[in-house]
Symmetry: C2
Subunit: 192 residues, 2 copies
DNA sequence: CGCAAGTGAGACATGAATGTCTCACAAGGA
DNA sequence: TCCTTGTGAGACATTCATGTCTCACTTGCG
């Protein structure tokens, strides 16, 4: 009978371990299981008891990232108001997960086609649909495909996340930099 | 007396090896030295005779990337015409190196602060100076810092490179997608 | 007070990539 | 033809992350 009660100090909060691992791997994607364990304040043995191996850990992080992404998509209410407003809300909701997403984004690049998690496809569809809505409403230009705008959003978020980490961009500017570049571009708009 | 003449078939063209390695590592950044050697059509022993180790190979690729970047910067004549035109030329010149640059871009993320190649700093300065020039001439908006625009350029090029590799974006649209998003953004411009 | 459960520390084996070495072979030059 | 040079193939030791195991310790509970 597996009652999920805490027994001892039970520092082994699965959630806490995942958060620590995400924070560490975001900074150093090649960190060892030993380093991950130390970062979480547990021993390597305990880490192994929770996640069968490095693969399982990364998969769990991927699931966490997808979960947070979909939560952000829900919270951003992509169908409300103009598409532009929805994009702004979406970036705001995704900001807290940016580090984890940046890690997963590059991690996925080296999963050479052995099939990635279906969750990403679901997310891609929803984001692309938002851009498509903006195109159909006349807000967004139609020469940039929704697929590319989606990809660009991911890329800009990852770039911004690293730029903030390395101090090249102020953390408080994260949202503004991404949204303004993605929506408005670098060119100065002529005053109407 | 080391005369640099060819002796046998001399399939070991250092340039060719680097190109092959770049092409392979761009697709699979975790490729083995053995795989790199096979991709170049040489044995692992010969590969090792040219590059002391994996580190040396990556360093050589980094040097190649920097070299191509600076060549692109030169060819783009960043000082000529408007900054906008210069950005368009720059992306065009960088397109052929996009895969290699994308590989090096992510590779650098896991060099946790142990000092990266000075060449990148030189390139950063030149690109940032271009964006600064655009700001001072009134072409570019001033609320997006040159450092961020530089970072965004790298990020968009890497994203576009992957998107093309995975078939989500047509290769022929590479230049247009990057330049238009970076300069104009997703929002439709009001017709003047 | 014991018992059960979970943990930390560490030993140990495994597998993979790496780096080093030797040896035989092919090709060009004297 | 002989010698030099560079190469391919393979054996070998090494390193490192990983996965598995044991054992002692601590804590909560009956």
């Amino acid at each position: 009978m597996s009652h999920l009660r805490y027994c001892c100090l039970m520092a082994v909060d699965r959630e806490h371990v995942l958060r620590s691992a995400a924070a560490l791997l975001t900074r150093k994607s090649t960190a060892t299981m030993d380093e991950v364990a130390k970062a979480a304040g547990i021993s390597r043995a305990t880490l192994h008891r929770q996640f069968a191996g490095r693969d399982a850990l990364v998969r769990a992080l991927e699931a966490l990232g997808i979960e947070e992404c979909e939560a952000a998509l829900d919270a951003a209410r992509l169908g409300d108001g103009t598409a532009q407003e929805a994009v702004r809300r979406l970036v705001g909701e995704l900001e807290r997960s940016a580090g984890l997403l940046a890690f997963l984004y590059t991690e996925n690049q080296l999963f050479e086609g052995d099939g990635q998690h279906e969750g990403w496809a679901r997310i891609d569809v929803r984001v692309a649909a938002l851009f498509r809505r903006g195109q159909e409403s006349g807000e967004f230009r139609i020469d940039l495909t929704p697929a590319w705008l989606t990809e660009a959003l991911y890329g800009l978020m990852a770039s911004a996340s690293w730029a903030v980490t390395e101090g090249r961009v102020a953390a408080k500017d994260f949202h503004h930099m991404i949204v303004e570049l993605l929506l408005g571009g670098a060119l100065r708009r002529e005053e109407p």
